[in-house]
Amino acid sequence: MFNENQLNAIDTVINDNLIEAGLDNVIFMDMAGNAIAKHDNGKNRLDSIALAALAAGNFAAVDAMAKLVGESEFSLLFHKGEKLSIHFSKVDDETLLISMFNKEISLGLVRLKVAETIKQINTILASD
């Protein structure tokens, strides 16, 4: 279980690194499909509960496929849409970060910002 200080710090990191950079929605969630922190730019409505459940299933299925073909994991999981794309990233063994962004933002920038965010979240989680 995360304490309140950790949750506040995670909120700040996601907001400052990702929402401020122009991403539409970000969900920090556990592998069981529960959303822990949800952030958006206020411009669209998203069924984040269902999305988290589906994202957990999707990530788990891809992870299991990686194991079947002898990979420890597939490091990039990304779905590109016409207007919106979704990027998945493992934070630690128990948590995931799902980032949704529009065509104005490049995948490269998202990957950079997500990598930095994950590093900071892991530092927060280690400071129990």
Partner: protein, 201 residues
Amino acid sequence: MALINVKTKEVQIKIVYYGPGRGGKTTNLEYINEKYRDQIKTEMVSLKTQDDRTLFFDFLPFDVGQIKGFDITIQLYTVPGQVKYNATRRLVLRGVDGIVFVADVQKEQRKKNIDSLNQLYENLETYNLDLFNMPVVMQYNKIDLKRSDIPILSSKTMQKDLNSLLQAPAFEASALKGGNVIPTLKKSISMTLASIQDQLF
């Protein structure tokens, strides 16, 4: 494991409907979705094949109110029942807090019920969970078939086959018509909440 968010004062609990293929797991969720429509904020998510068999899972979240100042959301999942989908079945069990085992009372399904329960035990073991230490509710579904010519097993036989060691609360049910679907759910929720009560404070 239930997600308890001390900041937003939310608790998310995962209950999984498990059992052999065509046993009525999805039908249970469809009935709940219809019955509690006003408490359910989202559409039920179903990942199924073209011929309407569950491919990955069904998902239905709904609110049950507050306990000790925390908003409680129950997330109901089903697993695909077909034998070949065990890899995906196992994935859905990750983080499970409570189980509803939906068994099929048709005589010809007897072995499939037993095999499915044994596999549930093994699948939970992969997450270091022990079926015997989990909140489990048994549901013996399709009891309405006793009015047809299809041979069915008595509840005594079902209990002997599936529940002699577990000793879980059991319900005869008819998910298609909603018979005992809600009592099964209520029992599962109350047992699962009781099991996580200690974590809340």
